[in-house]
Amino acid sequence: MTTDAPSRVSSRLPAVVAVVAVALALLFAFLSPRDATQGDLARMFYVHVPSVIVAYLAFVGTMVCAIGYLRTRNLRWDRWAGASAELGVVLLGLTLATGMIWAKPVWGVWWTWDARLTLTALLFFVYLGYLGVRRSIADPQMRAARSAVLGVVAVALIPIVHFSVTWWRTLHQPPTLLRPGEIQMDFPLVVAFVVSLGAFLAVSIVLFRTRLELDDVEAALFTAASSGRNAVLAGDAIDPPPVTVTGENRVL
């Protein structure tokens, strides 16, 4: 007798790892020392920065998959690009949200038209537009080609967003980690940040895998439904009314 228990365990392992990683990230974030200047509010750093780093990685992944599609015309690359962009939009939305939640008590306002904030919002809406383009074109090859071009071009915004705090005078603080020279954080804070980044990566991998699986099942569903053999048409669930032919309405 055989069971599918091993495959079930292996398929659930990434989700279990992600949940454990999130629990560890919460533990480290709340046990890490208070920041000397910002106090407890600095703990927002442990979700704000990992979310934007993984969002950048997702958008770079979109670009790589878009190039893969343009070189091979294989729709699998396109599906990966779409899943990666969707994940990036979710994470960048969380970056904007956590930035606003941090800004209100520290700056006194939810939002200001600072260069970093404005460019990050622009990046968010560009990739929201990318997802809109994907939903607006029915033909798979045309959708893949047009969104691939946008996926390659849009990634050029990322270095502009990142270096905006050094190129222009902004209210947003300069980079703490991704900068030349020494890291501007004490070691216990770096540990909490690295654990949190690991948790975001683990969660993102699970979400990305699930999104790809959903795409595969929906593609199989579309193929099965349009094959004709088992086609389900709108209105199949409605029983037609019985037709009685009488002398008055008989067509001669």
Binding site: V47, I101, P105
Partner: protein, 40 residues
């Protein structure tokens, strides 16, 4: 609101949103699998 209140609010938004997105994907995946089984 206290500093811890803001931090708690921020963390609830982040991890709550990620959980909601995961649930949304899982429900869509389950629905698509069931429709595929019915077609097969």
């Amino acid at each position: 609101m206290s500093d811890w209140g803001w931090v708690g609010f921020g963390y609830a938004v982040v991890y709550g949103s990620l959980a909601a997105y995961a649930l949304f994907l899982w429900l869509r995946l389950r629905g698509a699998r069931r429709r595929l089984e019915r077609l097969d």
